[in-house]
Symmetry: C2
Subunit: 351 residues, 2 copies
Amino acid sequence: IPETAGSAARHRMDLKAKPLGSLGALEDLAVQLCAVQKTLAPRIERKAMVIFAADHGVAEEGVSAYPPEVTARMVDTFARGRAAINVLSRLHGLDLTVVDMGVRGAVTPQGQIVNKRIGPGTRNSALQEAMTPREALESLRRGREAFQEVMERGGPVDLAGFGEMGIGNTTAASAIIALATGKTASEVAGRGTGLDDQGLRRKIEVLEKMIALHGAPPGERLDGLAILRSVGGFEIGGIAGALLAAASARAMVVLDGLISTAAGVIAVMIEPAVRDYMVVSHASVERGHRAACEFLGVRPLLDLSLRLGEGSGAALAMPVIESAAAIMREMASLEEAGLVPPPGLIPPTSI
Amino acid sequence: IPETAGSAARHRMDLKAKPLGSLGALEDLAVQLCAVQKTLAPRIERKAMVIFAADHGVAEEGVSAYPPEVTARMVDTFARGRAAINVLSRLHGLDLTVVDMGVRGAVTPQGQIVNKRIGPGTRNSALQEAMTPREALESLRRGREAFQEVMERGGPVDLAGFGEMGIGNTTAASAIIALATGKTASEVAGRGTGLDDQGLRRKIEVLEKMIALHGAPPGERLDGLAILRSVGGFEIGGIAGALLAAASARAMVVLDGLISTAAGVIAVMIEPAVRDYMVVSHASVERGHRAACEFLGVRPLLDLSLRLGEGSGAALAMPVIESAAAIMREMASLEEAGLVPPPGLIPPTSI
């Protein structure tokens, strides 16, 4: 993204009829969106939400409060339009797609479920690599493809949210964040869907095993693809691929919570330019989320104590991002409101 | 609000197809809304935003970075549909009304501006009481009337946001908060529209004068009306009156930043039951806002570093509140999703 689009947008925002900086995070969002869309009049017409679902071999280790069967049950609930993300997508006008990247149980093909299955879940990453190198690449490719199909079906996407479903995936995401940032197991482990103290201790032990098994040798660093292959999930690879596709199409991307932000970490390790297109929708209750946001250098927009996933936080952030676009487009300048710009902010003739 | 409506709603929310508590603040909002509307299927059909504008005698003391003329300019900008709050109201479907409670300059009667003028601004509260006892009561009465007229014009309001415009009103609001909570001038003073360090020191001195002049004698406490009269503004009284009217009509009310939350403090001092109807939309950058929220016992929903006023933060919070209502109404239960409720959460037959 050229620096000039951003600085012209910042200048225009500074000249709006308001005290300098008084719209806080909305101003930064508007400027980012102008840079993404290369315009001073950003528009958000089509909003898409894509949920990637898959199962995780590491769930065998007893790291979740729920059994793996729940992944398929929730995918069915998405298909029937009754989960939280369906409700939020209807309310906020998001075009919702659910992508089966490798759910373990049988998924009934119905509604908006897209089949991009790689296999019936990953292998147990506490014992071996979660995916083969080929599967890891395939997860990225199919995620990219799924997003491209969303665009082929309904036209260009201005704002794309990414969510997930997969029992065991807070463990996979926490391991990704630990391997990418160098944090320890206890610095990234959270309670997921609701582990008690004993369950959390167990999850930390499993994460320690995963980090010991897959961590880089001293003095070396893992690349994004190696981290994805060793501990990641098919849905996490899918989101990373979709993020790359969305950024290529100049869509603003909205990450949800722990898992989709971990996918953001993988995507940025593969292609650092993707970061300019990203918004992190909310601060998750999960511990590892903060480390992932710091790694990305992105401040979460909302803090509603969410820990559901499904893209629910991303859906809630979208009206805020739309607000930023509308402010940039429609709000009067100081001059139009009959007010005097503060000294030093006289518009250059070039704008 | 009966306790039973809230606890039945909490139980129903606990049985939704999600980990217990995983929708965080959205769950609390949904439960509050059920209690306000006395239903387990809350609806938000009509959303209203009412902006109260007035000038402040205390502006003479040099407590703002902008001159009082700006109040009238911004009211004109509201009327022409070009301010931030117009943009946000259009985007989020809010019925916007602007109420002139006593702007100093000439306000051209146009568009949605309602005339409830008490006078050309308050008196200088650093030297004397801002209002006569009669004016204070009148500000409450006219605010109440303005909200009732919004309902008469367009039907019942489910969600009501209150914003303001008035150069000098962060000083008035900070003084209200200091007098209500016992905080000192420097604990409640902020930079308003953009004071520099010297301006902030000046504002603290003026606030110290106001607190010394109007504070209660040792061992006594001021009531809400006395605080409003001594340091408040016509627009702050207007918001307080509108809050009382909205709660009477069982509308959920959304406070904006420092000034409307100070009006919330006045309203709750007059009628403590109003608190059950309140949401504080966002944490303002202004220092005194935190003290006001603590006084009300309400946690702000968003934190976007806003300090514009106009109701902008309240407008941004509305889609989150609508989301909470939709989740409560439309999301599947655990049972409907084919999932097992956690032990201890078997629904009682009475629900």
